[in-house]
Amino acid sequence: MIRAKIYVTLKRGVLDPQGETVKGALEALGFAGVKDVRIGKFMVITLNDVSREDATRRVGEMCKKLLANPVIEDFRFELEEE
């Protein structure tokens, strides 16, 4: 079994109003020195019966086809074997 941990993040330059709001909240709570907050998505996908090589290829395809929108998002992932 291989577990893929996938991170989808907004591209640099794409405004993140949710992140801005959280930044404001952190400042209101007295956390100083917060320069920037960016909010993204974290997904865990578990794959059965695949080689590491296969998993890399398949998860990459999943990200490109559905999990991330290339217009606004970047993605990266890590694989863990169990």
């Binding site: 794409v14 559905l66 217009v71």
Partner: protein
């Protein structure tokens, strides 16, 4: 003219569209479930507003892979008219039938109120009966309405005259105050390069009778009818 209105799980404006087309304009308008694979006898397709597939992952991200979408893409490729309203606009962007994407409103609020939009060009099947610069009043009802595209795409949109509507004041000025959601360049609607696919965030179907406070949305549907009368778009 024969209209097909695509219904996804979570669509909620399909009956409003059907009402306008059938009862106000006297046209044929059938509802088409998203699991259908073929479209028969439709001149114009409408992707209505709502929250298709719960807007999970991203708005439109799941809906664009619904079985019916291959037929929608085929219809568009053959030059057939496609109108995406609100969530329909988001789905068409995800499907790659329109450039850009709709993101979370800068205010991080769901916004439901009437806005003014200006007709930027009448050279589309959707605005041909409008006047250039005409200001229309219709409601928006969205959480993700902030139009975004990279600089290169924006330049291409401008070069090919594909920005069809912009948010403006009642007097027709595209100011920052008139921009409800932070859309780049106050963009409220864009078409594809071939000009047969339009996405618009405000709801023309909810502004098609004076009883509803405005009938200026009717001009979009009337333009489509005019276009249909001039030539059968599916055979172009």
């Amino acid at each position: 003219m024969r209209f097909g209105i695509i219904v996804f799980p979570g669509s909620n404006c399909e009956l409003d569209c059907q009402w306008v087309l059938q009862s106000v304009l006297g046209q044929q308008a059938k509802l088409i479930w998203h699991r259908e694979k073929a479209l028969s006898d439709c001149d114009c397709l409408i992707l209505p507003g709502g929250f298709a597939h719960g807007d999970y992952l991203r708005t439109g991200a799941i809906a664009r892979f619904s079985p019916i979408m291959a037929a929608v893409e085929d219809h568009a490729r053959r030059g057939g008219v496609v109108l995406g309203i609100c969530n329909g606009f988001q789905i068409l962007c995800e499907a790659g039938l329109l450039p850009g994407v709709l993101l979370r409103n800068t205010s991080v609020n769901f916004i439901c109120r009437p806005v003014h939009i200006r007709v930027e060009t009448t050279e589309t099947p959707f605005t041909a009966t409008c006047a250039q610069g005409q200001v229309l009043r219709m409601p928006i009802n969205h959480n993700e309405g902030r139009y975004y595209a990279d600089d290169e795409t924006l330049a291409r949109l401008q070069a090919h005259n594909q920005v069809i509507f912009r948010y403006v004041t009642a007097a027709g000025e595209a100011t920052e105050q008139a921009n409800p959601n932070g859309s780049l360049g106050n963009i409220a609607g864009v078409c594809n390069e071939r000009r047969n696919v339009l996405g618009v965030m405000p709801h023309p179907e909810r502004a098609s009778e004076e009883l509803l406070g405005s009938a200026s949305g009717l001009s979009l549907f009337e333009s489509i009818l005019n276009y249909g009368r001039a030539a059968s778009p599916t055979h172009r």
